[in-house]
Symmetry: D3
Amino acid sequence: MSVVQITRIVRFNCAHRVWNPALSEADNARLFGKCNNPNWHGHNYTLEVTVDGPVDPTTGYVVNLRDVKAVVAREIVDVVDHKNLNLDVPFMAGTIPSTENFVLAIWRVLAPAVAPARLARLKLWETENQYVEYDGR
Amino acid sequence: MSVVQITRIVRFNCAHRVWNPALSEADNARLFGKCNNPNWHGHNYTLEVTVDGPVDPTTGYVVNLRDVKAVVAREIVDVVDHKNLNLDVPFMAGTIPSTENFVLAIWRVLAPAVAPARLARLKLWETENQYVEYDGR
Amino acid sequence: MSVVQITRIVRFNCAHRVWNPALSEADNARLFGKCNNPNWHGHNYTLEVTVDGPVDPTTGYVVNLRDVKAVVAREIVDVVDHKNLNLDVPFMAGTIPSTENFVLAIWRVLAPAVAPARLARLKLWETENQYVEYDGR
Amino acid sequence: MSVVQITRIVRFNCAHRVWNPALSEADNARLFGKCNNPNWHGHNYTLEVTVDGPVDPTTGYVVNLRDVKAVVAREIVDVVDHKNLNLDVPFMAGTIPSTENFVLAIWRVLAPAVAPARLARLKLWETENQYVEYDGR
Amino acid sequence: MSVVQITRIVRFNCAHRVWNPALSEADNARLFGKCNNPNWHGHNYTLEVTVDGPVDPTTGYVVNLRDVKAVVAREIVDVVDHKNLNLDVPFMAGTIPSTENFVLAIWRVLAPAVAPARLARLKLWETENQYVEYDGR
Amino acid sequence: MSVVQITRIVRFNCAHRVWNPALSEADNARLFGKCNNPNWHGHNYTLEVTVDGPVDPTTGYVVNLRDVKAVVAREIVDVVDHKNLNLDVPFMAGTIPSTENFVLAIWRVLAPAVAPARLARLKLWETENQYVEYDGR
């Protein structure tokens, strides 16, 4: 049975500071440069959420994307939009808010939440020139 | 021998109604919401057609993209552009015109038509925030 | 006092047929070509709504864009999204649904509705390669 | 003599809080909603800087854009990128960091700095769906 | 009578060298930097052609854009696409091929050619971060 | 250990001629059409460079992208930007400058240069409607 991937794109705006509290200020500055500004900076993030599966002949859908959109809105967008990734977001607590760690944390939240749809890939843009991807492996 | 993927992007504008005639109007409305409007709605679709193969040392090309473009124009764009996917497109007859079914139908048309080039992937955007992908599996 | 323009962008998907019922089928076909398909076609429209004025020193805003967004959602997006411009939209009744007439009709709805904000310009994209603009003159 | 406008686009990432310290917390929350988060949020800003003038027959240029780019980098990008608009940017001190106030402050810095080029227009995107424009009037 | 602007976007790819043959090589190198490479470089240009006028009540159109597209294709795209602006394009002969001079030359060709439509504005992108505009003044 | 992909996008502008000197002028013209113009044409290329690996718990990074950016700037952008791919670029010498051969040549330069990061994928856009991809296989 043919497997199709379907992707929904959402956007949110956050502040963050790339910072490892276990390191000295000097090491933080050396490693993270301007991303380590103690007064924070921020981004317009764009997240592409991909689920896949066979096409249901009754609906023509892999999944009713309305349901996926509701899950992503409730579990991710409402939690991170106009928030500080270091201070305000429970699922990022204790994590250096690099784009890599952010995408892994989103995966851990969404993979069970979109079931029975199967989460196939996340693509997270931090700027228009930089993005990360993760597919669960 | 190195395998390179090459992609051509085309665009077309269609009307459609996501609708399963085997279901009641109430079930159609519940399942498909505003996409089920009996007076139709429409989209600017963007289609990314990817073929792959080794590079021909005489041309530096996987395939002369001019040939792929001609096939895609004749088999897809000329057939669907400014058309109604439910009423006007022979290769969609009897199919619920979801994006998933649309990409599968395009695959069935293009895979043999682009030979000897090998169709590797289709990516079909329905809006700037939603797309499907299919790679023949 | 400095006058700043502020713009909000919204998107909606519609079916339409460019068709003048006062003309013969032959004249319609000759004038409007594939846009005259009697089975409809459709577009993802993008609308840029610009208001202008001096900046309020209490808020730093020309206008609270939240209010403009609510008006545009209620008066335009909810009325046209996933609709047929020829059949479903009261403010387009009796109008050939060209992009030019569509932008003029949106102006007539929005200019009074956004008051006391001053509507300064509308830019309406029908495809990614075509748009119209109107500034009330 | 023909007057041509030429525009250079730059990008920077900032944290901010839309907040009027003269108002109560309740009034701030009511007016600014989620933009008032005391822990900050942030954006990828895109700035379009337009200068205009007649074309110099020796160079074919209105102005050597290399010079404009150097001024914009030194006076704006280096000052605001990866910074907090409320805390770190001298030319925003004492200003509510709305997009409107931000574009006016950039104008006050750039208009004299790009001379003898004439600053004609600024367009500042806060998100991909929202921008402000100012032309000095 | 309301005046609406309508814009069509076209794209073409050219080589060029920004070079004033009346100057020394040293002056050319100093003024134009890497744009002066004697072996050429090139760009994907994007041109936005805007015409304006009242809306014809018979068609709902300012002008049948099909006619404008045919003129732009014949007079500009067919003449410059995959060409060298210094060597191959008659309407650029004797001109330093800066973006400013290029847009002025396109205006001189298109303004009479689109009549009776009125050419209102040209916007010419040389890269995604740089563009020029001209409106005939 | 989870493997994340991270991508950086860079841009450069080049002239080229798709031309096989081992073939006759007639065969070149027949195979390559307008891309064979002996006076050259050019493009704004966009290159997406993807590296992957596990996330370093000390930094939250797969790799410090600052290092990848420096390598891509030095080995690719500085070598090809505002250059002629047939005449000026040592790593393209003796190669037909098709997009396919260009991406393979960039891979041969970057794969060892980004070590110890692992080069995972290159995506090279020649126009906004055409791109190639290569992943080392």
